[in-house]
């Protein structure tokens, strides 16, 4: 059902947790199926220095969360904005068709966190 990469990220998820006083926090939920994903960003200059996640969801949801945190770590905000749902799924060697909406959550949560960062940043 799931690729080895998905199972690996599900079993040993990277960057689980939260960041206190994060520069950006994004939370998205799939209202219908009840899944929730939250991503925390720690930004220095323009670089994403640290990232953490918390997810309530299936194997694919956990794996895509974990993968997206790996993908953005050390990247600039600009670069992070380029990450798409498809790219996350591809980095995991694909997801079963019924699970494609889980990868939507991961990229969406990241983009929400960046939006939050921009808002806080502009205020500061």
């Amino acid at each position: 059902m799931y690729s080895e990469k998905v199972m690996d990220h599900f079993t040993n998820p990277r960057n689980v947790g939260e960041i206190e006083n994060a520069d950006g926090v994004g939370e998205v939920g799939n209202a219908k199926c009840g899944d929730i994903m939250r991503i925390y960003l720690d930004v220095e200059g323009d670089i994403i220095k640290d990232v953490k996640f918390k997810t309530f969801g299936c194997g694919a949801a956990v794996a895509t969360s974990s993968m997206v945190t790996e993908m953005v770590k050390g990247k600039t905000i600009e670069e992070a904005l380029q990450i798409t749902n498809a790219a996350v799924a591809e980095a995991l060697d694909g997801l079963p068709p019924a699970k494609m909406h889980c990868s939507n959550l991961a990229a969406d949560a990241l983009h929400e966190a960046i939006k939050d960062y921009h808002e806080k940043h502009q205020k500061a």
Binding site: T55, F56, G59
Partner: protein, 399 residues
């Protein structure tokens, strides 16, 4: 790694005795039972023996048993076949909100084709009330289809009472007994059942075999036409090895039913007690006691998602199932749990453990050793559990 199979409601292994018997009919006594020669006659005799075995476990006559390719086909034959046979009399059908998809989808098909459907609700334990069924009956009601025991939460419905009601009103009564057959006593006569579905692969018989009990005198329009096998009710070369295996599985079930019911009930209770003790925020789904199949346990573990639990248990060799939406591939979690009034979130974190003959106390101990660790790990990741710890979560207080 230790492998613990706790998904016997999904399917069971074939009993070694059953498998051994089937082998003979695959490789030696392989004749077509319709054939006149000795190869055909010997399988024909064994086929009729199997019919006796199924009938006996139902309290039916052998002539009232029609073999099918499984529970799903039998459900379809019962519902679509009985509806068509009676379409001149009326077009109203009653079923419940917690039926198996084989019943619900067949009913939905009828609803799209000129029939009217009333779906009676269940209470928070998944129980149907006889009063609700009675309320739903109309002059044009031709069929009531209610399951005996639920496949997800094990709730046992008041079949005899509904049967009495249906009989009084002259309405055909179909019962999907796939989960109860061979596990708890059944008698189609005393229960006043007209049509009853059973399946082989839930009772240590082979997959791809089932049967429909059709009470003498009840008419069902066939769904499969051809050589006229099964007294024209279901054409197609009979799956003799499968049917003979099913018959053997019925004989074994009859012998073991009582002792296994007690034994599995105890294992189940031990597992439930252990989970409640070791894990907080757990909800039992379905009833306790007499109204529940002895081998079934269903719990919701809050703040974690069912598929994630299931996969984590699987990595430790433990096989269970879940009513989570993520598992089913649909957007909604189990229709059974929702019908019982569970919120999407709670239904999402449900796990079903279903016991079988081979399960032991050691299996239960192993689950109780692994499950709490898994729940801990997943809750650490869960943004919902977070809130509970910080006292912000209304769900927790609601429990």
């Amino acid at each position: 790694m230790r492998r613990v199979y706790l998904d016997h409601s999904a399917t069971t292994p074939v009993d070694p005795e059953v498998a051994k018997l089937m082998m003979i009919y695959y490789t030696e006594q392989y004749g077509n039972p319709s054939s006149v020669h000795s190869f055909g006659r010997e399988t024909k005799a064994a086929l009729e023996n199997a019919r006796d075995s199924v009938a006996k476990l139902l309290g039916a006559e052998p002539s009232e048993i029609t073999f099918t390719s499984g529970g799903t086909e039998a459900d379809n034959l019962a519902i679509l076949g009985a509806a068509e046979a009676q379409s001149k009399k009326g077009k109203h059908i009653i079923t419940s909100a917690v039926e198996h998809h084989a019943v619900l989808e067949a009913c939905e098909f009828l609803a799209k084709n000129g029939y009217e459907l009333t779906v009676v609700p269940v209470d928070e334990e998944g129980l149907i009330s006889v009063a609700e069924v009675e309320k739903a009956i109309r002059p044009d009601t031709i069929l009531i289809s209610i399951m005996h025991a639920n496949n997800e939460v094990g709730t046992i419905q008041p079949i005899a009472e509904i049967g009495k009601l249906a009989r009084e009103k002259g309405i055909i009564f179909h019962v999907d007994a796939v989960q109860s057959f061979g596990k708890i006593p059944i008698n189609v006569k005393s229960m006043n059942v007209d049509l009853m579905t059973v399946s082989s692969h839930k009772i240590y018989g082979p997959k791809g075999v089932g049967a429909l009990f059709i009470r003498r005198g009840v008419r069902v329009v066939p769904r499969i036409y051809g050589g006229g096998q099964e007294k024209k009710r279901r054409s197609g070369t009979e799956n003799t090895p499968g049917i003979i295996g099913f018959g053997k599985a019925c004989d074994l079930a009859a012998e073991r039913m009582e002792a296994e019911g007690i034994r599995q009930g105890q294992l189940r209770d031990k597992l439930l007690a252990g989970i409640m003790e070791k894990i907080d925020h757990v909800k039992l789904n379905g009833p306790r006691g007499e109204n529940r199949l002895p081998g079934n346990l269903n719990v919701s573990i809050q703040f974690v998602e069912g598929e994630a639990l299931l996969l984590s248990l699987d990595m430790m060799g433990i096989a269970v199932s879940s009513g989570s939406a993520c598992t089913s591939g649909s957007l909604d979690p189990s229709h059974v749990l929702l019908a019982m009034g569970l919120t999407h979130e709670i239904a999402h974190g449900s796990l079903r453990f279903s016991f079988g003959h081979q399960n032991t106390e050691e299996d239960v101990d192993y689950v109780l050793e692994q499950l709490p660790k898994i729940v801990d790990r997943l809750r650490m990741m869960s943004p919902l559990y977070d809130k509970v710890k910080h006292g912000q979560c209304s769900h927790a207080q609601a429990q």
